[in-house]
């Protein structure tokens, strides 16, 4: 327990670093996946090919990629940019398929109707397609978030600071408490990120929660009717 108290400062610091390093690839992967997913969905012929190629990115083992990137990017081996790029690629790999599905989930009649009342393609994307793809995009970014936060720990093997440091150090010193701190810290970040994403989703997609509320209301009505009968 003394270890916890003595190292509280470092635990807190590494947690913040871990959170900050995870946030970048999540955002970059999400932002890049939207145009790629949209294009893949819009041009049906390209959909299969694009999704297959981007999906293959995920098959690249993480450790070799972390090591190979410095020579590809001309960065120093310990530069966190390597990890950020690698994790962004993984985030993209997961997110593109979801983004493509998200745009495919938007009702074609609604898009046609938007065009018929005078939305240009550009405006229609921002004001109709993107918000309506929102619920599926949100579910995608939640998966990406968890995956990125856990993958980041691997970066510690090549010396990029994160909560993964506690796994390696604890393993080398045969000190389970330190390993546990690393694991719990990672889980806590993942849960906090997920709560934040869910809250942002409720804020940006208010119609979805109301629709759900209404369905609940209906279900309750049905139960009452059943009870009355």
């Amino acid at each position: 327990m003394n270890w916890l108290v003595e190292n509280a400062g470092q635990i807190w610091e590494l947690t913040l670093v871990h959170a900050a390093l995870s946030a970048v690839p999540i955002v970059v992967g999400f932002v890049l996946a939207i145009p790629v997913g949209w294009l893949a969905n819009r041009y049906h012929a390209s959909r299969g090919t694009v999704l297959a190629i981007v999906g293959l990115l995920y098959a690249i083992p993480s450790l070799p990629l972390f090591i190979a990137l410095p020579s590809l990017l001309g960065t120093r081996i310990l530069d966190p940019v390597n990890i950020e790029v690698a994790l962004s690629l993984y985030a993209l790999a997961i997110m593109v398929r979801t983004a493509s599905d998200a745009f495919a989930s938007v009702d074609v009649d609604i898009l046609l109707s938007a065009t018929a009342v005078g939305f240009s393609t550009w405006r229609r994307f921002w004001y109709v397609e993107l918000p309506l793809a929102g619920p599926v995009l949100l579910s995608g970014i939640r998966v990406v978030s968890v995956s990125t936060i856990s993958l980041l720990s691997v970066g510690s093997v090549i010396g990029v600071t994160s909560l993964g440091y506690f796994f390696i150090d604890g393993f080398q010193r045969d000190f389970p408490l330190e390993i546990l701190v690393g694991i719990i810290g990672t889980v806590v970040i993942a849960v906090v990120f997920d709560l934040v994403l869910a809250a942002v989703g409720r804020l940006l997609l208010p119609w979805t929660s109301r629709a759900v509320g209404r369905q609940r209301g209906r279900a309750a009505e049905r139960t009452q009717l059943a009870g009355a009968a």
Partner: protein, 318 residues
């Protein structure tokens, strides 16, 4: 005025949806395009606001060839109401109605004020303004759709089977509302339906289509009922049967109008011509719209069959 001149539409897969179609759609009247599915009526409607471009021929709106007009601007200047309302599910009712004014750069405040006025116009309670479309009934959604179509006060209103997906009672109510609105607003309405009763009820001019975009007959409801162009039209409008094939029967000193099944559809009111009856009441039949054809009547145009369908029971004489 909208004018189609020898318009043909062939889709990339080779289907000819519309063949050599010509029509003048007069301003401030309701023109109904009616036919079964696959008759090209919706394609014709969509060519007016360039949702579909003609393969050959020209379409003019007040003398301007639509193919020379910029499509997005053209669509914003024309009201469009579609089946299943086509509302944006993620926007509140007032925002949906304000969509097109907002696209045209009207401020949020002004657009909302206008949206609330339009809710009054189409008979929606203002308390629904901040609901989402999924929280409304089908009929209410359709009213929102109509309000959105009217939001920029367009000269032209295109309606693509707007009442097709609501139940019959609500449909009848919405049809009456449209008749009332059209009387107030005086738009050039182009209305697509597969329901001949709806076509006769709403249309000043009715265009009946056969399969493949071929016109079977163009005329007023009176003309079509009085003189169906061919057997297809006669069958389509049902002039030979049921509630449209009426004849007179004397009963207790009055002339009863009786339908094809021998059931009383109403009484014949002497001396009431269509001009006298206009404006005398809310019921469309009493405004002299021909919804039926009275066979065996010596005075086919003047015989205002005062009732059909729902009101028949009340008029039945002992």
């Amino acid at each position: 005025m909208i004018e189609f001149r020898s318009v043909t539409k062939q889709f990339p897969d080779g289907t000819v949806a519309v063949r050599d179609f010509s029509l003048v759609i007069p301003s401030r009247k309701t023109t109904v395009l009616v036919g079964s599915s696959g008759s090209g009526k919706t394609t014709i409607l969509k060519m007016i606001n360039r949702m579909v471009d003609a393969t050959s021929g020209t379409i003019e709106i007040d003398g301007a060839d639509v193919s020379t007009l910029e499509p997005v601007g053209l669509r914003r200047s024309i009201g469009y109401v579609m089946q299943n309302s086509g509302l944006l599910p993620h926007r509140k009712v007032a925002d949906n109605i304000a969509t097109v004014p907002r696209l045209r750069g009207v401020s949020r405040t002004d657009a909302r004020a206008r949206a609330l006025e339009l809710m009054d116009t189409v008979g929606l309670d203002r308390s629904l303004a901040d609901r989402y479309p999924s929280q409304l009934s089908g009929g209410q959604q359709q009213r929102v759709g109509v309000a959105r179509g009217l939001a920029v006060d367009p000269n032209i209103l295109l309606m693509d089977e707007p009442f097709g997906a609501v139940d019959p009672l609500v449909r009848a109510e919405l049809q009456q509302e449209l008749v009332r609105l059209q009387r107030e607003l005086d738009k050039t309405v182009v209305f697509v339906t597969h329901d001949i009763d709806e076509a006769f009820l709403l249309g000043d001019q009715v265009v009946i289509f056969k399969k493949g975009g071929i016109v079977a007959q163009i005329g007023t409801p009176d003309e079509i009922l009085a003189e169906p162009a061919d057997d297809f039209v006669a069958r389509f409008v049902g002039a030979d049967r049921g509630k449209r094939a009426l004849h007179l029967r004397s009963e207790a000193g009055r002339e009863l109008v009786v339908d094809g099944d021998g059931r009383a559809a109403g009484v014949l009111v002497d001396g009431r011509t269509r001009d006298d009856s206009r404006g005398s009441g809310e019921k469309n039949d009493s405004e002299g719209r021909a919804t039926t054809t009275a066979l065996g009547s010596s005075d086919e145009a003047g015989a205002a069959a005062t009732a059909s369908g729902a009101s028949a029971q009340g008029d039945r004489q002992p």
